[in-house]
Subunit: 110 residues, 4 copies
């Protein structure tokens, strides 16, 4: 059974992962890809650490706390990059999911 104490954090990571994977795909289809280069990179960093954190929590990893702390940092940075492009719907939504996830992760390890 998944440890219930993690549930809010798993849910935030799942939403953030989806937002980042979708934003990555959408950025690669934008007219001005060059402007989105950092966003593409951050989306992948963030989707991948979220997936890593979800696995850690769902399997009760002994390193879950450290992984969640790293996830918070990467989500925060990804949110800040996405926010620069908030005229794109996918970036605005992604920034929101990233900041929310960063906050929940920070609370989790506080």
């Amino acid at each position: 059974m998944v440890n219930q104490m993690y549930q809010e954090c798993i849910d935030a990571c799942l939403e953030c992962m989806e937002a980042c994977n979708s934003c990555y795909d959408a950025c690669l289809r934008e007219e001005d890809v060059k402007m989105m280069a950092d966003c593409i990179r951050m989306d992948r960093e963030c989707a991948d650490i979220c997936a890593f954190a979800i696995k850690a929590m769902q399997s009760n990893s002994p390193f879950a706390k450290q992984i969640i702390a790293l996830c918070a940092e990467i989500c925060q940075a990804c949110g800040e990059e996405c926010q620069k492009h908030s005229h794109h719907d996918h970036c605005r939504k992604c920034a929101e999911a990233c900041f929310r996830c960063a906050e929940v992760c920070r609370k989790m390890v506080a």
Copy 2:
């Protein structure tokens, strides 16, 4: 935006991934770990391919179909292994999630 045609399949993979990660953790805590060795292995195979398939669908991978087909095969095999240990709650639930995911994945690529 996540491709809506994938949504049912993503949801099935998310449930299966959680069930497998939880079952992996629970199997490692069982009294008779030796009897669970194949289940531990299959849980990891299945959780990992589900995560891979989720990423492929959420990011509109050009290889999503092939990855989903492989996911169906691994879910089916994991379900069959877990079913042997259905006296354990975690294995019974995992088998159900695996068979359901295998079915949805097969339908997706049919």
Copy 3:
């Protein structure tokens, strides 16, 4: 001990993964990122399936053959995309590593 029969295939996947990860980074730094959008996407697909195949072989996964077969297909497609940009050193080297890996993977599962 790693299964010796896999060694050549593991080595080819390791080289291909490195070439794709490097090419992904280099493409994101190019002047004309838009022209490299498909290459960026394929580099990630290919680096990630190579990593997945390496794990499968090194841990004697019961699904190694199927994963290697999928790896062959993705490496071939990534090589074909990279080849279009062979005026970039990183793309030319990546295409070579991809085609070599595709060939070794196909031989492995033949």
Copy 4:
């Protein structure tokens, strides 16, 4: 091109990842699997963070340092678990690769 400053660290992570994947497989085949339960778990944690760190270094992730620091911690812990079972060849070799990787990672981020 892979950042040359990372090369020693990438190599140590590659060796550690292989040792952990092999040890994971071997532990699941041991007579006394129960005694190896923590080792199985740590092998997966360690192989997976090494793979994550390799990807980060090869693609010049802006979070490489933080990921390498986490890798050092997990390698150290995995080495300490494997060392308890050093009568098994695979555990002894794995412990050596883990301690070596932990050291190189710590040096990298110092």
